[in-house]
Symmetry: C2
Subunit: 227 residues, 2 copies
């Protein structure tokens, strides 16, 4: 469902050039559950941004469900991002002037979901991540881990085929992490491809496959947990 | 060096009231190395903000080096925050329009450090956290873990007596985490009190003492690692 071929991403130029991605080749099948690990600065978030159609590569091809993404106009990309891909950002990117509930409902506004269904689905998602009593709080009135969970709820409400989660349990204690992992596992069972950047081995161990990134390239693919 | 007595923090009022802190009593000795753990939303960051003089409690007393902080005017608090306390925020709070180097130099401007010493100390701190080649990057040009490390460097440059670190390795891979832990250990050896919120047991294990927080109160104090 996701195929990256020789993807490169360069920032700057000349001897100031930073090769954030240096020839990434990656195939992710429909419904696969995949962890992405690697050192800080190795290119994981950059790669996720390319997969999530948020960033265009400097070179290489990206096929999403066999469509060459680089040939698509911006409107099509925006639809794909909204309807097919759910993204949990490393820095959450919640809108600070909106409540948790409004933040979670926003993607459904763009998708044309009815206002009653938006509310129901958003409430269900927030209850599912344990935020039943915090729905009306704004992000500044939420703890770090609560904000992270709002970001997770928001990524799910349009029922995407691919969930991209960049360090989704970074701010969570072990029990809440377990609950989020059970949620991801259910989504995976339901046929959603889950691609998750994590630096926690216990989280990576729960996936089907671990992809290692080093200096902007895929080091090797191996099957989870410890082969 | 830090003494909290019956500290409470309430948001909202009536039946909407959230007791983020509900009678916290805590004593931290000079130079102690202490981990704070607890579920998401249990009050850890709120407590850190009170200790860091960033937030006033709703009730209770806070003695910092035996001075009653609640009796101090804002100017004195600002000096204390700048000179005695280093704070690594859970959400980093770097200034996006400044480079990593300028971000790290800023606390020293307020402290009246000469411009040559500011530059030297800031560069040393950034090299120490592995960011030698990223000093001129702005936060948007840095990975999540790199931003976290800039926040760590910034907390150290005024040589505080207390380092407050809210999930300082949340965005870091295991090797970088180890390097940061070695740095904290050195600071501790040098006599700095290190108070660190973490949800990672491997990180907490390296401290002298683990304080558990639950529903806004200290559950129990116990000595690290597993007593
Ligand atoms: N301004 C506010 N208004 C209302 N409630 C708030 C406000 N700020 C924080 N809270 C609530 O106070 C509680 C404690 O928050 P705090 O940030 O201290 O938790 P935490 O232990 O740091 O959690 P995490 O591990 O997720 O970072 C949370 O339940 C949060 O929703
Ligand atoms: N706009 C930019 N200009 C210059 N360099 C950049 C820019 N954005 C990212 N980089 C660099 O690209 C590299 C890869 O960044 P990326 O965010 O993908 O790392 P990461 O693997 O997600 O790291 P982390 O685990 O710390 O989140 C980093 O070294 C970073 O400094
Ligand atoms: Mg990243
Ligand atoms: Mg917190």
């Amino acid at each position: 469902v996701v195929r990256l071929e020789e993807i490169t991403k360069v920032y700057g130029s000349g001897d100031m050039a930073v090769h954030a991605l240096a020839g990434v080749n990656l195939n992710i099948k429909k419904g696969e559950y995949c962890a992405i690990m690697g050192a800080s600065g190795s290119g994981k978030s950059t790669m996720m941004n390319v997969i999530g159609c948020l960033d265009r590569p400097s070179a290489g091809r990206y096929y999403l469900e066999n469509l060459d993404v680089s040939q698509l106009p911006e409107d099509d990309l925006a639809r794909i991002r909204n309807l097919q891909i759910g993204f949990v950002f490393q820095q959450f990117h919640l809108l600070s002037q909106l409540s948790a509930l409004d933040n979670v409902m926003l993607p459904m506004v763009y998708a044309g979901v009815s206002s009653r269904d938006r509310r129901d689905r958003a409430e269900d998602a927030l209850i599912r991540v344990g935020l039943k009593d915090r729905m009306l709080n704004k992000p500044t009135q939420l703890s770090g881990g609560q904000q992270q969970r709002v970001a997770i709820a928001r990524a799910l409400v349009n029922r995407p085929v691919i969930l991209l989660a960049d360090e989704p349990t970074g701010a969570l204690d072990s029990r809440t992490t377990q609950e989020v992992m059970e949620l991801f596992s259910e989504l995976h069972q339901a046929g959603i491809a889950v691609i998750m950047v994590t630096h926690e081995p216990d989280v990576a161990r729960l996936t089907e496959r671990i992809v290692w990134v080093k200096d902007g390239a895929i080091l090797h693919n191996r099957l989870a947990p410890d082969d």
